[in-house]
């Protein structure tokens, strides 16, 4: 480990939102923490979620405590990372007309009246009952609004940035964090207690070992596999993996989220999210390779058909990609995917003969901090650490200062749009990027026009946020996720990443090539015929200039 330190208190495996949250919490309490992630921060469900910190209205009738905690935590996250949150007003049309529609609308009105009681916890506005005309005035693209509808209020967030902020804060409070590094063995002493881990860097193939007293398995859908590394039966950390697919549209097609139902009655949404729209989500049991989860054309069409019924303009929208992740839902047999609990659970593997080993199962983005606090309390108790949790009050990196984009743009000689996007991602830490640009004005160069992303930001996330590949940079900055799919920026980004890491330029080109192959795989299911034409030429050209004739093929392993 860094500085020759080969002993820590806690090893956290998995840098999704739960793992990064626990690493931060434990580090803030003064524990010595090492975080390992075999892919990248937020690689799994956390970075491929719907990107919402919602209050959990769906739990209101069965488990109002969950709704209370979700709303309370949403409020906490707003306090510690105000730059990352954006308000999403939701429209929920009642499609039925007549008496039945009116009764449904009244029922919803009553339901959301109950939800309103929790809204102040997360600075949410109370719901409104809208007539059909009012609903259509709010979003003229809506059809078949029937009896009217409901509007209510939620918050959006970039799950990748949330995880990165937690990891960076953990590191700044003494933790070590290694991405692209697999824990290969969880060692146990003669009494069965956790005693250390062995790990391997998947990029350099270097191996290492570390003593520890506690291991937290925060690997989401990978939880059973991770549990088996300690020679436990994987069944002790069983989850029910559920694949969730989203389609990304190239712009905000509406400034409201539209909540409707798919052909099978499931709730589907069209969400304005940062500078794009997100259409989601599916929920299907998943038995495939967790490291290579991709959407398919059927899922894309299922989602489009659902929203087109009430918002036909969606058919003219341009889909530019998909995301797919696997939820680590708590295991239950015999239930439909949608009916599964979204609650979370901490499994202490002590009774199974492995004291010091814990698994975090289930959970959701909105409740990550609360879940992490519960987990850290358990760890603290085991390690006799008396320090209280501060994660609800201490700002995450970037959350300590609110910066005005206009002044920032003028002061640094960059475009207003670039400033707005940079400040969204980095909050007060944008000052560090400004220092970079002041010392080297060349770093104001725009690498990714779609987002936009400047060279300074790419260098910053490599240097300060553990990015090691073009794909890692993309996850932290949204570089290459716009309409061009990275065709215009991947090569430039690869060159900068290689330069910053002291790697040869050929390494940067290969990293860019891998990103384009994997981005192509994410885009293909969403392409319409006209887009396919452009994609065929652009990808061939981009890959040719990188010195490779290869093109993305479905199911191909980009690594």
């Amino acid at each position: 480990m860094d500085g020759g330190n080969s002993s820590v208190d806690v090893v956290v495996i998995g840098a999704g939102v739960n793992g990064s949250g626990v690493a931060r919490d434990c580090a803030l309490r003064g524990m010595r923490v090492a975080l390992f992630e075999r892919n990248d921060i937020a690689f799994g469900a956390s970075g491929n979620s719907s990107g919402m910190i919602h209050g959990g209205p769906r739990y209101l009738t069965q488990d109002p405590e969950v709704t209370f905690r979700s709303c309370q935590d949403s409020g906490y996250i707003q306090k510690i990372a105000p730059h990352l949150l954006f308000r999403i007003p939701v429209l929920m049309p009642v499609e039925r007309g007549g008496i039945a529609g009116k009764i449904e609308l009244l029922g919803l009105d009553g339901f959301f009246e109950a939800y309103d009681r929790f809204q102040p916890l997360k600075r949410g506005k109370p719901h409104l009952r809208l007539t059909a005309d009012e609903l259509q005035a709010a979003e003229p693209g809506l059809l078949g609004v029937g009896a009217g509808g409901i509007s209510f209020d939620e918050w959006g967030i970039d799950g990748n940035r949330l995880c990165v902020a937690n990891v960076v804060d953990a590191v700044e409070h003494g933790a070590t964090a290694q991405v692209h590094t697999s824990v290969t063995t969880i060692e146990r002493d003669e009494n069965g207690a956790v005693s250390g881990v062995k790990f391997r860097d998947e990029l350099t193939h270097e191996e290492g070992r570390l003593d520890c007293r506690v291991v937290v398995n925060a690997t989401g859908a990978w939880a059973p596999i991770t549990a088996a590394l300690s020679k436990l039966n994987p069944e002790v950390a069983r989850v029910r993996p559920g694949k969730g697919t989203h389609v990304v549209l190239d712009r905000r097609v509406s400034n409201y989220a539209i909540l409707t139902k798919a052909v099978d009655g499931r709730s589907i949404f069209l969400l304005p999210w940062q500078n794009v729209s997100i259409l989601g989500t599916t929920d299907d049991d998943f038995y495939g390779d967790l490291d290579h989860v991709t959407a398919n054309s059927d899922e894309v069409r299922y989602l489009f058909e659902a929203v087109a019924r009430v918002f036909p303009g969606i058919r003219q929208a341009r889909a530019i990609g998909t995301t797919a992740g696997v939820r680590p839902t708590l295991y239950e047999w015999g239930k439909h995917e949608d009916a599964l609990s979204r609650d979370h659970e901490i499994v202490d593997h002590g009774p199974q003969g492995a004291p010091g080993m814990f698994s975090m199962l289930g959970g959701k983005l909105a409740g990550y901090r609360w879940f992490a606090e519960e987990m850290s309390d358990v760890v603290a108790e085991r390690l006799s650490n008396q320090t209280a949790c501060h994660t609800h009050s201490m700002p995450l990196p970037g959350g300590e200062e609110v910066i005005a984009p206009e002044e920032f743009a003028v002061a640094n000689g960059i475009s207003g749009l670039a400033a707005v996007r940079m400040i969204y991602r980095h909050g007060g830490r944008s000052r560090q990027l400004a220092e970079r640009m002041a010392s080297d004005p060349e770093q104001k160069r725009v690498l990714c026009d779609c987002e936009p992303v400047l060279e300074a930001e790419v260098r910053h996330v490599v240097r300060g946020e553990l990015a090691r590949t073009v794909e890692d940079v993309s996850r932290r900055t949204r570089l290459g996720l716009g309409a061009c799919g990275g065709m215009r920026c991947a090569a430039s980004c690869g060159a900068v990443v290689a330069d910053e890491l002291g790697q040869p330029p050929s390494w940067g080109r290969e990293s860019a090539r891998q990103f384009l192959v994997s981005a192509g795989r994410r885009r293909l299911p969403a392409l319409n015929p006209a887009q396919a034409r452009q994609e065929a030429m652009l990808s061939a050209s981009a890959l040719a200039s990188l010195g490779s004739g290869e093109t993305p093929r479905s199911g191909e392993n980009a690594q």
Binding site: T294, A295, N296, S297, D298, R301, E442, Q443, R445, E455, A491, S492, G494, A495, V496, D499, P504, P505, S506, G508, R509, A512, G520, L524, P525, L527, N528, P529, A532, R533, Q534, E535, A536, M537, L538, S539, A540, S541, A542, A544, S545, L546, G547, G549, T551, P552, R553, S554, E556
Partner: protein, 382 residues
């Protein structure tokens, strides 16, 4: 005999030229395709590339001489990512990597930032140092005063300006201030549209000057178009800006109808309107497929069997059109019309060339070879 060539890219131009001595040739050109968007050099397509026969080499060489744009000159060329790529041919504008062989160890090659900013050139220089480490050359980013103002300007516009006398004077003066320490200068694709300014710089500054291969939508398309138009004028080929909408057999030939109205009669036709990327082949939308239309077809009404890897794709796919996530991008580049070796399509007197044809490498050289074959076949086959 009247031959109509649909498409004026590399394949269409080669077809028209090959047929021009024995036919009245009309070329229909509606919009830019792959050739106009390409980066200049004739990059080889790797393992898929088909080696040229002796007769093909002779024909391509003759065509290139007349076109006066490409030279069939196997070499390596610098891509805009700093990769040295094998190419089958170069334009005069590009600096072949073999020119570096003549430089002494320790010599400095300037990577000029004219329209790119300095950090981009610096990273390119670094990539080249890695690529040519064995030769011991020193690649260095060169910033020329005043050139930085072009940072956001398309390279074709810069090249157009440098083509003018004041523009060239600025270019020459700017480089002069730096050239004493240089053994060669490598430029982005800005060295003129009408003329290769690299040759003028070489003479006036006595150092090798040329471009790296331009990225997509660089100046290469403009240069090709100007040389193609000159060739057509020289050999009497007529070019029209119409878009064909349908082809129909007549008693003794073909009738071409245009989208904007009007028609044209022809004895033979060569289709060289590009593959999926350029719009010659189109994929059906889900709504069309549900109504029974083919999943893939020519983008206008004409006889032809669209195949992918030897299989018809007229009804392939699910109810909502071709399943792209299953086919993959490489399939999009292989899909095309089925043809015989001379480019003959399903109907008599109808030929195809270039990326329109199925299962051929999507390289410019292949487009030229198939274009020459189709043009020749069109005027000889009955």
């Amino acid at each position: 005999m009247k031959l109509v060539v649909v498409g004026a890219g590399a394949a269409g131009t080669a077809s028209a030229w090959a047929a021009s001595s024995r036919a009245d040739v009309i070329v229909l050109c509606d919009r830019d395709g792959d050739t106009a968007l390409a980066g200049g050099a004739l990059l080889t397509g790797g393992a898929d590339d088909v080696p040229l026969s002796f007769s093909e080499t002779a024909a391509v060489t003759e065509f290139f001489e007349k076109l006066n744009y490409w030279r069939l000159q196997p070499d390596r060329v610098v891509s805009d990512t700093g990769m040295l790529l094998a190419c089958a041919g170069l334009t005069d504008w590009q600096l072949p990597a073999s020119r570096f062989d003549a430089l002494q160890e320790g010599a400095t090659v300037g990577v000029v930032a004219w329209g790119t900013n300095e950090s981009e050139s610096r990273l390119l220089a670094r990539a080249l140092r890695e690529q040519l480490a064995a030769q011991g050359l020193h690649f260095e980013a060169i910033a020329i005063a005043g050139a930085g103002r072009w940072a956001d300007t398309p390279s074709a516009d810069i090249a157009g300006y440098l083509d003018t006398a004041p523009g060239f004077a600025e270019l020459e003066a700017g480089l002069k201030t730096q050239c004493e320490k240089l053994a060669a200068a490598l430029f982005p694709p800005v060295l003129g549209v009408a003329e290769n300014l690299g040759t003028f710089l070489e003479k006036s500054l006595s150092l090798p000057c040329g471009e790296w291969a331009g990225a997509l939508r660089s100046t290469a398309g403009h240069r090709f178009a100007s040389r193609r138009d000159a060739l057509f004028q020289a050999v009497g080929v007529e070019m029209r800006g119409d878009r064909a909408e349908s082809l129909a057999r007549t008693a003794d030939g073909w009738k071409i109808e245009f989208r904007g109205g009007g028609s044209l009669l022809a004895d033979r036709i060569v289709l060289a309107c590009g593959g999926l990327a350029s719009g010659g082949i189109r994929l059906g939308s889900s709504a069309e497929t549900l109504s029974g239309a083919p999943a893939a077809s020519l983008s206008w009404k004409a006889p032809g069997d669209v195949v992918l890897d030897g299989t018809h794709v007229s009804s392939t796919g699910a109810a909502s059109g071709l399943d792209l996530s299953h086919l993959g991008l490489d399939a999009l580049q292989r899909i095309g019309l089925q043809a015989d070796r001379a480019g003959g399509l399903r109907a008599p007197g109808l030929f195809g060339a270039g990326a329109l044809l199925a299962g051929r490498p999507r390289t410019l050289l292949e487009a030229v070879v198939s274009g020459l074959a189709a043009g020749s076949a069109a005027i000889t086959h009955v």
